[in-house]
Symmetry: C2
Subunit: 226 residues, 2 copies
């Protein structure tokens, strides 16, 4: 019984994600989902309460998927980093290590958005349409988990001792990359727009890191003078 429940629940979520891939939020209607799953509209309301809550559950799966990919990438790119350093491909400095790690994270994010363009766009569109307070707690939690991915990478960084500044930096960098990617993917995802978007992300991350080390040197210069 509960087993069957979970099956139907899972199928409804899967179909919702399917329909998101096909046309963003356009096909996400109670009747459309019910027809494709093979149940009645009432079942959706019994299991999820409302279509909006169903979409929220689907969205949490999307964020979880991205999170998982991020975790994997962090581990993988660490191995790749050592390999490149051993091969003399990358200079072994804290700055170049940081750059490599941030590029890897940014690439994972961009690839995910490209590979799941409609799905990702549906999630953003839905969240924007929700009234202020109604954003579920776990949504913010999952968003913070993504921030933490960058936060951990920024730990090895000349950002001062306080944790606060690192959080600010992580959120700023993540939001910035997010802004660039979504701003450029308003419409079609062509090879040209892909390249153009990556140019912007690359420049931003490069300047961010370069600025980080330049500023830290300035601080070192100034203190001895006093």
């Amino acid at each position: 019984m509960t087993l069957e429940h979970e099956t139907v629940r899972a199928r409804i979520i899967a179909v919702t994600l399917e329909l998101m891939d096909e046309a963003g939020l356009e096909l996400i209607k109670a009747r459309t989902i019910a027809r494709r799953v093979g149940v009645s509209v009432g079942t959706i309301y019994n299991l999820f309460g409302s279509v909006d809550e169903l979409i929220q559950v689907a969205n949490s799966h999307i964020l979880a998927d991205m999170n998982k990919l991020g975790q994997i990438s962090v581990a993988d790119s660490e191995n790749e980093l050592e390999r490149r350093i051993d091969a003399g491909d990358i200079v072994d400095t804290p700055k170049d290590r940081l750059l490599f790690r941030l590029f890897a994270l940014a690439k994972v994010y961009m690839d995910f958005v490209e590979d799941n363009a409609n799905r990702w766009g549906a999630m953003l569109a839905f969240n924007r349409n929700q009234p202020e307070g109604s954003v579920a707690g776990w949504y913010l939690d999952q968003q913070n988990a993504l921030f933490d991915l960058i936060g951990k990478v920024l730990d090895a960084t000349p950002l001062g001792d306080e944790k606060a500044i690192r959080i600010v930096a992580a959120r700023a960098l993540w939001s910035a990359v997010h802004g660039i990617v979504t701003m450029n993917y308003v419409g079609q995802v062509s090879e040209q727009s892909r390249r153009f978007t990556w140019e912007q992300v690359e420049l931003l991350v490069k300047l961010f890191v370069a600025g980080l080390y330049a500023e830290s040197e300035n601080e070192q210069d100034e203190k001895p003078q006093k």
Copy 2:
């Protein structure tokens, strides 16, 4: 007649923006607008074709307003900049001039989004819900006008000779600030979130500029070596 037309047209647009301020897109319905303006639903369709097209017209007014504020700010902050330099408040270097100009632009943007939170959110929500190709040409034009605001400021910058890199930088920086601001304004706009958001914008712009000059020095260092 045409005079009366323009009056009704203008009133419909004004009421649409009013309703956006009150509750984002929630109250933007043909019947709600018609009732408040004092006409029938049919009139809206006669003058605008559809509710979506009406919203697009309203959105273009929002972007135009922001553009105008940006233009004014660029002129004003130029005077303010000279005043601060004369007062010895700011060091007269290209880098500090650039920083001041970019901070001024970022502040205008943040203030506008705060002062028109619901209106701005409605515009973003609507654009995200539109199918790909249907983004009107003038919308992209007005967006490009905003990029140009930054692009002109970046002209006085060590970014290499090609215009292409400057366009990339302008889009990257603008989109980054946009990302930070919208990411932080998911819900309420409190004094705390305001400060937190500005911290991120400030850090990003500061590192972007610092990185810009650090990288240009590196290039100068490298070339003589060869």
